[in-house]
């Protein structure tokens, strides 16, 4: 059943708002010339409050969330979002404070920002943190801008960045945004970066290397220290995309591996909710010598007071108005305070345990292109099912019929038909076993009854959506 658009429910004169009914003394046309005034907001909806509530409630019932079920999306870390974090973010001082209010009135929030920065520096093994970037990609841009600023200050911005072929698309896109060309480095057949490959590509005109650890195949970059030395020896810097930090908390720290710049994703590793596409938060951590380039302001402690420090003359400026996604920082702070050091370490251990368990149980049924031990995620392909005409896409759609959100598909690009599975630590062994049962059932269907997979999904609110048509016949808004 279709859910009409809110505009289709609109009826002239219907009201969903409540505003003071006082008679106003100012007539708009007395203060503002007619030519600047608006006559009408054409086609804007007019609906009752119940209309709105029912409409969006129906929409929510056509959607899947972590609270609904398992979300094995590789590189997304769809772990449970603690409810206490929501309550925390709604506390008055957090929700209703204004970024421009005097610092002496904002000690609580400034302290939270300061402490969270310290926690992240400790977890990543680096020295200074900016919480300003609003998402991982913006964190990458910020980190790469810092790297560029570092090189510019030395007299040569350099021209390009080395990026492995397993990188997330935001990595080259962020580099490009900084004015850098991208040179791809191939990973080995073992799925990791080799120092020789980096050595061959690294010159004094290359600003640095962007890598992810563990990488998007779920593999620890075992040569990272050597690779970092190669980059450093030619005056470059090492950027680490920290999207996969859920595998390493309390176990290993990028800062100890030669990494100079690292961005975190609070909406992944640190449990803040994904919201259907944000808000996120992408803090950037740097080694001491790069602190001077970070966006302003930083929160510093002066005696017992927390202060906004704008005195960074080499700062790259700002990437966002004000200080960052504070509402998201509150949730991440609450999570870290709830877990403590041993809790975070245990979370990473169990995240890896869950991924290794899935890998082991799915191995007999699906092709595993890289057989090195995985960390928090594992990547399969559709090689075994392709012979019957069943692709990764088809299997993803069929998984929905079993009540699961599909894993990440067709990424990383080095694997044809990639199926990237990241269970996270908040899933129980029973959930994993149910997922494995469903995957085994699909593998069997691929052999015996492929048609049911090719025509999937069957049990969702809509059947397979025609994405080609969407791009060919663009309808990007409602028209009356």
């Amino acid at each position: 059943m279709d859910e009409p658009l809110i505009f289709e429910r609109s009826r002239r004169g219907r009201k969903g708002y409540s505003l003071p009914e006082e008679k106003l003394k100012t007539k708009p046309q007395d203060v503002i010339p007619d030519r600047l005034l608006r006559q009408d907001i054409k086609d804007f909806p007019e609906v009752s409050e119940l209309d709105v509530v029912r409409h969006f409630t129906h929409l929510s019932q056509r959607n899947y969330g972590v609270d609904t079920g398992f979300y094995p999306l590789g590189s997304c870390t769809m772990k449970y979002n603690p409810k206490i974090n929501e309550e925390a973010a709604r506390l008055r001082g957090f929700a209703l404070s204004h970024p421009c209010q005097p610092e002496e009135l904002s000690q609580g929030v400034l302290r939270l920002i300061f402490e969270l920065s310290q926690f992240l520096a400790e977890i990543g093994g680096l020295d200074a943190v900016s919480l300003q970037p609003a998402a991982g990609a913006q964190g990458e841009f910020t980190g790469m801008r810092v790297i560029r600023a570092y090189h510019e200050k030395k007299g040569n911005p350099r021209a390009a960045v080395l990026i492995p072929d397993t990188a997330h698309g935001t990595n080259p896109a962020s580099s490009r945004l900084c004015g850098y060309g991208v040179i791809q480095v191939k990973t080995t057949e073992k799925g990791v970066l080799a120092p020789e490959a980096v050595s061959q590509a690294m010159t004094e005109d290359i600003a640095g290397l962007m890598l992810t650890n563990p990488n998007t195949l779920g593999l620890f970059e075992t040569n990272i220290k050597e690779v970092a030395e190669v980059v450093h020896s030619k005056g470059g810097l090492v950027y680490c995309d920290g999207a996969n930090m859920n595998a390493l908390m309390g176990i290993a720290r990028p800062g100890d591996m030669g990494v100079d710049v690292l961005q975190f994703n609070l909406h992944k590793t640190f449990s803040t909710p994904h919201g259907g596409g944000g808000p996120g938060s992408g803090p950037v951590a740097v080694k001491k010598h790069l602190r001077r380039f970070l966006p302003v302001p930083l929160v510093v402690k002066k005696g017992t007071k927390y202060v906004l420090d704008y005195k960074l003359p080499d700062s790259i400026g700002k990437v966002k108005a004000f200080y960052g996604n504070f509402g998201v920082m509150v949730r991440a702070y609450a999570y870290i305070r709830s877990m403590g050091a041993s809790g975070l370490k245990r979370a990473s251990e169990c995240a890896v345990l869950n991924a290794r368990y899935l890998r082991e149980r799915l191995l007999p049924y699906f092709d595993l292109p890289y057989d090195s031990p995985c960390l928090h995620e594992c990547v399969f392909s559709d090689n075994k099912q392709k012979e019957k005409g069943v692709t990764t896409l088809d299997m993803a759609k069929r998984l929905m019929d079993y009540g699961f959100h599909p894993p990440t598909i067709y990424f990383p690009l080095v694997v044809q038909g990639a199926l990237m599975i990241e269970p996270t630590e908040t899933e129980s062994r029973e959930t994993l076993d149910e997922f494995v049962e469903a995957m085994i059932a699909i593998a069997k269907e691929a052999q015996e009854n492929p048609e049911i997979i090719l025509s999937a999904p069957h049990r969702t609110k809509v059947s397979r959506v025609d994405e080609v048509k969407a791009a060919r016949e663009l309808i990007l808004k409602w028209k009356p």
Binding site: I32, L37, G65, G136, A173, K477, W478
Partner: protein
């Protein structure tokens, strides 16, 4: 640990299934000199109750619009948020859901965003909107880069009356790629269009104006439209307070080519400056250069109406370094909140709300005009914000009023050194006539 379901039995059995002896074995392939032996130095964990108590203390020591009478604006506006907005956005199917890459299980979020895109287009009177950007400032930066790509020109002209933080973000994003020039103001507090006329030429990709501008006045958009387009450049408009569009003629009607804005005032709290919501809309001709995600309407296999993300060939996961932007996660939940808010307010509500705000602003101005020592440097028609010049230091005034639990506005010296004696005052419907009276009494 209530978020970690594994029992000792689970761990033992799962390790056995893998053929590992202990949890440490799972990391044995990591070179030991890269592993951290000592535990992370973090404070001991807190129980749920202790955590809430600690956070309440931090929150309690932070002033907010319920504990203080505040006249702060400057790109972040405290409006009343109807209860239904929180009720809907806290539904876990929205809150805990992922980006809707798998449309069959994400029709809820996709349709909500499609409605949001439509509402943004209606509010701005533009052709097409994206699914959101991070905030008004970064949206403005992406608009400038987009204009550079479309026009293949490198000069961008910004008004000094464009929010200072927006200008700072634009410069960071455009570093090394665009030549940013700024034009100043007239005596009335409006962008100097004569200057603009002289500066805008065939090397200009775009001109960026904010209206109402940072100081409050509504810009001369009809004239700006003519000047910008005569130079063959794109007209980019920024709307920091979209509630103003309940009353003011929308940017699209002035032939804006790209419109960006801050959507936080549309149903989301001020939250110490973030998260925000980057509104972004453009003309059909430019849709393929627009950054960000876009939801499109299509059909499923059975011909039922359905929605999905579309035109992904602009985006990073497909085009990588050739993408229009690097943006991935955006502000989906705030886009949802704004769709709910605007649906509740509707065309009548938004109009009435902006009339109330105008009325309260005029009331405050009238009262302030009676206070000696205060003057009003800018007299062009405005909506909800205005500048007051004073004999005493605005910073000292702010400090003095703290004990009365009033924040009178933002001293402008931090952004405009030549305006050290000025205060930016903003009014919303949450400033009651009593609040206004209290401010005036305190300024007497």
């Amino acid at each position: 640990m209530r978020f970690l379901p594994h029992t000792e039995d689970d761990i033992r059995e799962m390790l056995e299934a893998i053929g590992a002896g202990s949890l440490a074995d799972l990391f044995s392939h990591i070179p030991s000199h890269l592993k951290k032996e000592a535990p992370l130095r973090l404070p001991p964990r807190l129980s749920e109750q202790e955590l809430l108590s600690h956070l309440s203390a931090l929150s309690g020591s932070t002033a907010n619009s319920e504990s203080f009478i505040s006249f702060l604006g400057a790109g972040c506006y405290d409006h009343f948020i109807p209860a239904a907005v929180d009720a809907i956005s806290s539904r876990s199917e929205f809150l805990t859901s992922y980006t809707p890459y798998q449309p069959e299980v994400s029709q809820g979020v996709l349709q909500a965003i499609f409605e949001y895109q439509t509402l943004v287009c209606q509010l701005f009177e533009m052709d097409v909107a994206n699914a959101s950007m991070y905030d008004g400032a970064s949206a403005a930066a992406e608009a400038v880069l987009m204009a550079g790509r479309i026009k293949r020109r490198t000069k961008a002209i910004l008004s000094m009356a464009l929010h200072p933080e927006y200008r700072s973000v634009i410069k960071t994003y455009c570093h090394g790629q665009m030549d940013i020039q700024e034009i100043g103001l007239t005596k009335e507090g409006l962008t100097d269009l004569l200057s603009l006329g002289r500066l805008a030429d065939d090397t200009t990709a775009c001109v960026v104006l904010q209206s109402p501008n940072f100081f409050g006045p509504i810009e001369r958009l009809g004239e700006a439209d003519a000047i910008v387009h005569r130079a063959g450049a794109l007209f980019v408009m920024a709307v920091a307070e979209p509630i103003s569009l309940g009353l003011l003629r929308p940017p699209g009607s002035f032939n804006a080519d790209i419109v960006v804005g801050e959507g936080q005032p549309l149903g989301s709290p001020t939250s110490f400056g973030g998260p925000g919501l980057g509104l972004f809309a453009t003309r059909n001709a430019h849709v393929r250069q627009m950054p960000g995600r876009i939801v499109g309407q299509t059909a499923d296999k059975e011909g039922k109406r359905a929605f999905c993300l579309t035109l992904a060939t602009r985006e990073q996961h497909i085009r990588r370094e050739k993408a229009t932007s690097n943006i991935c996660t955006n502000e989906g939940l705030l886009a949802l909140r704004s769709a709910v808010y605007l649906s509740l307010m509707g065309k009548q509500g938004l109009r009435r709300l902006s009339e109330i705000i105008l009325d309260r602003t005029e009331l405050l101005k009238k009262r302030l005009k009676r206070i000696p020592g205060l003057s009003f440097p800018f007299n062009a028609p405005a909506f909800n914000e205005f500048v007051v010049r004073m004999k005493r230091s605005p910073e000292k005034l702010v400090t003095a009023l703290l004990k009365k639990k009033i924040i009178p506005g933002l001293p402008l010296g931090r952004y405009y050194p030549e305006m050290k004696d000025c205060l930016l005052i903003s009014v919303t419907e949450k400033n009651s006539p009593e609040d206004i009276e209290a401010l005036c009494k305190a300024l007497q």
